[in-house]
């Protein structure tokens, strides 16, 4: 076992990319991603990685360039954030439709307007339907591990789907933690060769020239889209198998698309994603000391959507107590409705309830951390209190899904902010 290094999330990503040995790296700066490509430029200039480091003129070009490289059979990397991710939105769909095994890191950051450089998940969640595998890391170690596994999943001949690895801006990208960095030989043995094999779908061939990224009429288009969807669904099994293989070789890492923590006997379950899970664990520890059966489900992957794992965690036979209320905590809102993750969780619960003719617990959506707004421990306690209140409310009819009105979406932390301002005014 090697000695852990003290690395920020972005540096852990850069180290992971070094170990995965992409042929081509496209670099364009945007806060808070920039230090990833800065570190990679140093790594390439120092000769620790023989890659083409290309200074592109936009994020759109970054992803477009990598599609050209992937069509030539090269492993690639780029990183982006926020406005940059949305600027390349067209290319996200293009890459997944072309089935190129790209890997990209996204530093989750708020979207303008108003301008704001701090972390929230509006950027990647806006593109959750773009056909990419979407992973959300909790800490720097998991970010490094996810990048390495991302190449294995993306380049799996049965999957051939690009992967977006998300790190919460600043909170994760710029926070230093001890990170175990694997040996090059170990990663080499874990991943396929850095060049895609001749004849790999989506690549040019010297012996039999190919037309790539073609046009298809309605019928053919539907078939290609069906294939793409089937591959992304199949990625769930590939992610689990890859994680298992990773654990066997490197001795760490969660296995599933959902990580359950203190969940099997939890009556009040908070579902969330990304780095806030650490704070949620702290809140749960404190609540459990008070006798509250609180638990956490962390969505490590949002695409493919882990509906099955979610259903099993909430309703499986391993449970000792039924779930009485579910909260979904996310740094995002789908304007005019509710949080994107909440919508997805509710859809999964509804499907589960209809399939099993079983009641579904009520769901509260906590929208928090927008534009980097702090999610305090007290906020998390308040969320669990809300869930308890919901479960105990006499008006609550738990045989039905929670009403989809706006009343069950709560902007956590906003009242605290107003109060703090009042105190400042008073002082």
């Amino acid at each position: 076992m090697n000695t852990p290094e003290f690395l920020a999330g972005n540096e852990a990503v850069a180290q992971a990319v070094r170990l995965c040995r992409p042929r081509v790296i496209a670099a364009y700066p945007i806060t808070p991603q920039t230090t990833v490509v800065e570190r990679l430029s140093e790594i390439v200039e120092a000769g620790e990685l023989d890659a083409e480091f290309v200074h592109v003129e936009s994020e759109h070009s970054a992803l477009a360039l990598l599609m050209g490289s992937a069509a030539m059979g090269s492993r690639t990397f780029t990183a982006t954030s926020s406005q940059g991710l949305l600027y390349m939105a067209e290319c996200l769909y293009y890459a997944s439709g072309g089935r190129w095994p790209l890997v990209m890191m996204n530093a989750n950051r708020a979207l303008a307007l108003p301008w704001n450089i701090y972390g929230d998940q509006s950027d990647s969640l806006a593109l959750v339907s773009a056909g990419w595998v979407q992973a959300y890391a909790e800490n720097a170690q998991e970010a490094l591990d996810m990048i390495i596994q991302a190449y294995a999943v993306a380049e799996d001949p049965a999957i051939r789907t690009p992967v977006l690895v998300n790190l919460d801006g600043f909170v994760l990208t710029h926070t230093y933690e001890p990170v175990s960095v694997p040996e090059q030989a170990e990663v080499d043995a874990f991943l396929p060769p850095r060049d895609l094999p001749d004849g790999f779908p989506g690549t040019f061939r010297a012996d039999a020239p190919q037309s790539l990224a073609i046009t298809a009429g309605p019928g053919d288009y539907t078939v290609f889209k069906y294939q793409q969807h089937a591959a992304l669904l199949a990625a769930a099994a590939a992610i689990r198998a890859t994680a298992e293989r990773f654990r066997a070789r490197f001795g760490r890492g969660a296995q599933g698309l959902v990580e359950a923590w203190q969940a099997d006997d939890a009556e009040f379950v908070l579902i969330t994603l990304g780095s806030i899970a650490g704070s949620v664990r702290s809140a749960i520890r404190a609540l459990r000391e008070q006798g509250v059966r609180a638990g956490l489900l962390r969505l490590r992957y949002l695409r493919p959507f882990p509906a099955e794992e979610l259903g099993a965690a909430l309703f499986g036979s391993q449970r000792s107590l039924p779930v009485r209320a579910v909260g979904v905590l996310e740094k995002d809102i789908s304007f005019g409705h509710q949080g994107s993750v909440s919508l997805e969780v509710k859809a999964a619960l509804y499907e589960h309830a209809s399939r099993h003719r079983a009641p579904a617990p009520p769901v509260l959506n906590f929208v928090a951390g927008l534009g980097g707004q702090e999610i305090a421990l007290t906020d998390l306690h308040a969320m669990f209190a809300d869930l308890q209140g919901l479960a105990h409310s006499p008006s609550d009819d738990r045989r039905h899904l929670a009403a989809p009105g706006f009343t069950d979406v709560r902007f956590a932390g906003m009242e605290r902010f107003l109060e703090e301002n009042q105190h400042q005014d008073a002082a």
Binding site: E52, A64, L65, M67, L212, A216, D220
Partner: protein, 306 residues
């Protein structure tokens, strides 16, 4: 490397069975290009006419490796191919972009600029049919003054812009080679293509490409219009070669504008005043072009490999 010329053009065809309109100038240029460069090509065409007519599953008109790029990203996708070629030390291949005027002068200009700035080893050909033809003849930054399009139905545009001068825009990046050409001068085009494929770094060709349905010209006019646009002085044949500017054809006097404009419905509504304005703009453009050539001749030649 065998010199490219009309005489040495091989019989092989690398662009057949496409669904281009009858008499399309763009497809003619593309066909010449691929015949001349041969099978060791990686071609990138953005969304637009050339992609729409060549890659409709299951009919594939390209005989070489080729792919469609996002509309704005021809330069970037070319760069990605070039990066892998550098990384793996692949030799004796051509990385060729073939994009229309909208994809070059407008939406793709940023991506082209990045590729030129990085000195990518690419050959970028803009086939200029002077409007967004694939979507049905809308005005682009390369639509000439007075031309009717479906978004400038009178031919009069408020700001009355001249065409963006793509050769000078490309040359301003300090790339090794940039030149203009037409469908009416195949020997000149092939000579420039030959030069373009040999320089060390990006090369840019801006090629006049008539569009019969978009211009309202005869389907057999692509070559003839190529000649008359040069004779009327509306399309100077020029090349920038490592800092030196050559005007390939210096007409002593210009042929009457009607020789060119009169053969196209898109210019039908032009009156005397419009014609005078077009002539004045042309003359000004030639003055600026000659001044540019003199300025480049006076400057010390850029250090470059031959």
């Amino acid at each position: 490397m065998k010199k490219i010329s009309i005489k040495t053009l091989p019989d092989e065809e690398f662009f057949v069975g496409h669904k281009g309109c009858s008499g399309c100038g763009g497809t003619l240029i593309l066909r010449w290009t691929l015949k001349a460069l041969g099978d060791r090509c990686y071609v990138v065409v953005p969304a637009g006419c050339m992609s729409a007519i060549s890659f409709i599953y299951p009919q594939m008109a390209f005989g070489v490796n080729a792919m469609i790029a996002p509309f704005a990203a021809t330069g970037a996708v070319l760069s990605g191919i070039a990066a892998t070629i550098r990384a793996r030390g692949i030799r004796d291949v051509h990385v060729v972009g073939f994009a229309g005027d909208g994809a070059t002068a407008d939406i793709g200009l940023q991506s082209l600029s990045g590729a030129l700035d990085r000195r990518e080893r690419i050959l970028y050909i803009c086939y200029d049919n002077e409007a967004y033809m694939n979507t049905g003849v809308q005005r682009s930054g390369a639509t000439p003054r007075g031309a009717r399009t479906t978004t400038s139905p009178s031919g009069q545009v408020r700001f009355a812009a001249a065409k963006k001068d793509l050769v000078r825009i490309a040359a301003a990046h300090g790339i090794p080679y940039a030149a203009s050409a037409t469908t009416g001068h195949p020997a000149d085009f092939l000579r420039k293509l030959d030069r373009a494929r040999q320089v060390d770094g990006p090369a840019f060709l801006h090629v006049f490409a008539p569009c019969p349905p978009g211009w309202g010209c005869a389907t057999d006019a692509a070559a003839d219009l190529g000649r008359s646009v040069v004779e009327t002085g509306l399309w100077p044949l020029v090349e920038w070669d490592h800092g030196e500017v050559r005007i390939n054809r210096e007409p002593r006097s210009f042929a009457p504008l009607a020789d060119y404009l009169g053969a196209q419905a898109r210019f039908r509504a032009l009156g005397e005043e419009d014609l005078a304005a077009i002539a004045a703009a042309r003359d000004h453009h030639w003055q600026a072009l000659r001044a540019w050539a003199r300025e480049c001749a006076a400057a010390a030649p850029a250090a470059h490999p031959a």
